[in-house]
Symmetry: C2
Subunit: 249 residues, 2 copies
Amino acid sequence: MISAEKLTLYELAAADRAVRFSPHCWKVRMALAHKGLEAETIPWRFTEKEQIAFSGSRTVPVLVHDQHPRGDRATGDPAISSEVISDSWRIALYLEERFPDRPPLFGGAGSIPLSEFINSWADTALLPSLARIILVDIYKHIHERDREYFRTTREKAFGKSLEDVVADRDAHLAALKQVLSPVRRALRNRDFICGATPAYADYCVFGMFMWVRCISGFDPLEANDPVSTWRDRTLDAFGGLARSAAVAD
Amino acid sequence: MISAEKLTLYELAAADRAVRFSPHCWKVRMALAHKGLEAETIPWRFTEKEQIAFSGSRTVPVLVHDQHPRGDRATGDPAISSEVISDSWRIALYLEERFPDRPPLFGGAGSIPLSEFINSWADTALLPSLARIILVDIYKHIHERDREYFRTTREKAFGKSLEDVVADRDAHLAALKQVLSPVRRALRNRDFICGATPAYADYCVFGMFMWVRCISGFDPLEANDPVSTWRDRTLDAFGGLARSAAVAD
């Protein structure tokens, strides 16, 4: 990226603003690293709807891509174009389209629909399965003023109290193990879901594990699970970007 | 394919040998049609292990690809090469590699790992979910001499009787609806899982619905489900190949 461009990413933060735990924001963080792009990250909390109202979205991630007229944006020139993209999937497509000379997030156009399926699987199967394990941990670590919002929206979604959702951890761990079967199988023949190196479909799944890692002290994977080995490899990618991320106490 | 080549596909058959109901064999049938290839299909039943012993596999699909020295195999020349491939995934890779000038099953090398993930998802999430609905229907329609084998192996896998597995159909239908979420989401933006036209990942999922269609009178999808609309489109592909397939009475 030439210095006339600037990327800004609004990320969900815990009570400790250094802790960025949204699975969807982690998809974007990994995608930016994959593309070799730097972004200023701005902590955002669930109830700060007004701070991102400019995006038309009520949730993060929100990415702002400013382009300045001269090479040195320190001159204070206003941006001549400013694009605002919300939703991690749309952000990934945007990055792929706008930075085509950087390493590809998708292995060609044919891979985009297939990656979207895997993203949808992560969101609709893996996310709820992990939520049943960490929902109360999230509640404990988010900012005090986010708690009522979080409890109300999640208890409505699950149809029971947060505490009741996570009550039977052993059953949820057994269900998770089954949910992860396609990942485990896919990793029999290769190091990453996308092949010899990770790409966007890996980050879609990995984001879910960063969500757990950043907000909960509990590890839902057994050490000998191939999914755990894959997670280790992805934690080490890009100089250990994800491994060095702040986690909640 | 030049006339010097011959493909033979061993397929699982019901009591009525015209009924070919294996989800994995249907993946191959669709892949062959996609490539514009014809194959002689040979009905096979669960307990006929000896008939396919030459393949080293105990299950179908098994594909045999014979090449004859001259253009006209009717001369009775023995095949100069005969390749035997079992397992639907390996067959798909084989067809892609051996018939590269035909329409691609995968949209480039980057799509192969992603398609394998979707195949694994179909096998480990969708298949068991549908099995909980149709297991007794399968038992009723397979050949009498296959029944004991089927009951024994499936009851061991599920840890209960076939009748107990399918007992709570309403709960299984609700679970299926949730399992299908990634397919439904993927179809929001396109006609097929793979994009504007179907490819191998579509057939991996579609094979599961052909399994149900051929062996059970029950349709687990609601008519207004986008998955049902996609299934209709795929039933119509290749001149209605799948729609015209024999189904059990």
